[in-house]
Symmetry: D2
Subunit: 290 residues, 4 copies
């Protein structure tokens, strides 16, 4: 096998000897383990592991053989798993509406090589941000939508994403509701960002209401989109101090900066295979050094 870093994301019932079994498997097949991160949910008796191994010429297995053999182990231990061979960049689509802060930031990081992925397209229900996509040389698709045309537009989106083999959809302030069908088509493959408050303010004009209430902190949450739109597994959160002096406008501006940082981190965690989702919870393993 050619030298490459391979990442396994593993989940199964917690059971005696599971770490030894798993690490021994890779050792026996000639891989060197770069890092092994685990998490055990004691309440649910569930085991989670992120295993990074490196192959070299001493590994005689092909990818297919590796996966076949690992699948045998997986069956014995009721393991659900995914594998990533590292060399291939994930294909990403970014969806936007009117606001540009997240889009600029993601395209800048992408261009500078700080996000290990391939941004294939920017899709929007408005023309407004086309110049930004073009500035960075990324194809821009304009797919307007109304509540009447939602199903048809989503069909177009699915056609567009699937024909381009999109691995991850980043909703960088795409201000449209997605149907359950659409979300279900991309389980744990849609990352959304939205503002967060303590206490939460549901509904319209949250920054105005946060201002009226005199909150001292505002924040943002990045999560996977699920049927219950703002309720999916939380990937990352951020927060900043504010004061009574902050106006709704300045709160919104501070909120935009938090959203920018939080979404960039969440996308980075996803494309670096640092996340395992279980039910409504995202286990986010810290980056390891290699």
């Amino acid at each position: 096998m050619k030298p490459q870093i391979i990442t396994f994301l593993i989940k199964c019932p917690d059971q005696k000897g599971i770490i030894a079994k798993l690490t021994h498997f890779f050792y026996q097949e000639g891989f060197n383990i770069l890092s092994s991160q685990q998490y055990v949910n004691e309440t649910e008796q569930r085991f989670f592991m992120r295993l990074r191994v490196v192959s070299d010429s001493s590994v005689v297995l092909s990818k297919e053989q590796l996966e076949e053999r690992f699948e045998r182990l997986a069956e014995a231990y009721q393991i659900t798993w995914t594998v990533d061979y590292g060399g291939k960049k994930q294909k990403v689509a970014i969806m936007v509406s009117h606001t540009s802060h997240n889009l600029y930031d993601l395209l800048h990081r992408h261009k500078e090589g700080k996000l290990f992925c391939k941004v294939k397209m920017v899709v929007s229900n408005h023309e407004k941000l086309r110049p930004i996509a073009e500035m960075f040389g990324i194809p821009f698709y304009y797919l307007p939508v109304t509540s009447e045309t939602r199903k048809a537009q989503e069909a177009e989106l699915i056609e567009l994403f699937d024909s381009n083999h999109i691995d991850l959809i980043v909703m960088a302030r795409y201000m449209q509701i997605l149907t359950t069908d659409f979300v279900k088509h991309y389980p744990n493959k849609i990352i959304n960002i939205h503002h967060s408050f303590l206490p939460a303010f549901q509904g319209a004009n949250p920054y105005k209401r946060a201002y009226e209430r005199g909150v001292k902190l505002i924040g943002a949450t990045a999560h996977y989109a699920t049927e219950d739109l703002d309720e999916g597994p939380i990937i990352e959160q951020g927060v900043e101090r504010v004061t009574h002096e902050s106006t709704p406008a300045s709160l919104k501006s501070i909120g935009a900066d938090i959203e920018t940082m939080v979404l960039a981190k969440a996308v980075s965690f996803h494309i670096n295979n640092q996340i395992i989702v279980e039910g409504n919870k995202a286990i986010v393993f810290p980056e390891t050094g290699e």
Copy 2:
């Protein structure tokens, strides 16, 4: 007038020349202005000011004369105001139930002279924390309560507080509902602390639910108690990062540390006359240097 620092908290409709009028008033009467902090709510056209002035022997007014003259100004400008002459410590009652982290911290700061107030008593619906109050030499009152006896117990509380001229009631994890009548008896004089999450988790076992949801931040909010118990004006908030590794127990422990710091700050802001409440919003002026 003897040398003393006097703090005026002022609110009125915003109007042309109001800062000049107010500062000129004190200048004319011979006071030196130490600091003048304002806030204008543009939407509501309301003006707020915290004015710290110092008197010396050149001030010939008595307190009564000062207040009488200021009241004339107040009438002309529709000003609502309070004044504090600085030398007198506010009298504080601390209410607790089972948990001790806030109580220890407040009594320690009080004892070390870091909170400029006089803690007159600790009141609880349980005997459990009596030893802590006694350790610090503070009278402890045990007033048990059930839903049946709530009205009677609150009558006892009011009798106890009012006969001791209590200025501020700090609910340092007092885990009982207060009636609307009780809360209305002490407008903006009861400070409560509770945990805060993004998103919010209503109801029982919030730390367990935060754990299940995999939140990345937990926090705490100190606010004035109003009829709608957890919805009063927010005085201070704090937050800490957590990970999926955190158990409900460790979340609770981290939450306790945040509550400790946030409540101490809120109490300090109150007794330093840094807060003006308007509607459901607490305007908290930063501490000034003098």
Copy 3:
């Protein structure tokens, strides 16, 4: 006078009645005071004020008359002052070398109207970042430099800046030493950003040394450039948690994000006239709501 917001930045010896005098002056001349922020350095007995007033048609003074009358007051109270009439955007030059994160961020904010200034040029000692400036339609000047040519290059810089009436120079990771003469030519008009650590690491490769030392926090500081290069008045600072897992490369990447946010805030404070410098200390007044 046409309706406009006028900002006075004022410093003088602290003295009795100064706030009343100053606010009364503007009241008498027919201005409405939007906000009045003060700071008193007790140790040094110095008074600082940021005063925002608004004119309307009832103000009969011209700018020249206003300044002439204010100067009379200033002389009486030993006041040093500056005034900004709000309508005119400050002209900004950005200096860079190799790294692009601050440049992208500033040009993005500028383009989106979030920084109230006019970025007139990007200047670099390398060609590398020219495409970014051009992407945003900002003139790019390439002025290479060696230690031998430093004086000549700085003369070119001064010629370039002064002929373009540059008000503020932002060193957005310009990795060259500036001579004392150059820095003195632009007192409190050059903002620099650099990484900060606890403890500090002087010299080369700070991220490698922070890694070797196992720091748990890294940060960044924006400050005005003075003769003693990394020692000027601090405008803003930021910090993030890191762990032993962080590599020198990931520390650098986290550091870049902090630098981005901190420099953007510092530039914003400067162009909003929120800063008064006294000696080696920057007094940064919070943004006010109007």
Copy 4:
């Protein structure tokens, strides 16, 4: 073997198969692995592991046999290791001088069962804090010191600590220099706390100098004491925002709160066996859920 949680802290040269070897060893001997945390320093090719295993009645080994067998593995892989059997609380001595915030906090946490250790004594070079130790029922030792008597006093300290089998010495604002001999007697067993600034201020009156410089952040660092007193391996750091309004006194008060939280965390990490020290770097593994 009786049911117990056993923690191994391991370091060795990084080598192929090391995780598999180590986990397999415990699996073979009948232990269940609760968690396995690793860190690889790529530059130095060093491997670090914190392994938590649980024994039950199926484990036939005695402690001695376990350690003997593990030592054989250790020799083969050049492993340095320590083991902790969990049931036994570490014995802790707290050293103080004048300031009480850390002492109160640690004794409170200890009393409430939040620190899994046994505080055996408080030692001070002043009588001032004796009442606090006595309030919590902890023996207090008064050992005054001058530069002349330092060697003799340290000899007394060593006698006191060693005869009481002290495992950890917490310098909770003990304001005396320790000699190199004393520090070397307790390698990685003395935790110190001190204020931290960006930039750093060496020497006397750091809060006054931070005030004069107008810093926007202040912090604290907990570290192991080494010969170079303020330069040992960093365990934990914290930081808070401040403004120009902060006086030296209020900076000091904010600093005290940060020190309180940071030292409590550092002590907790140490007694929970979360730390491996390598050279001048502390690898602090996050708490795991079990």
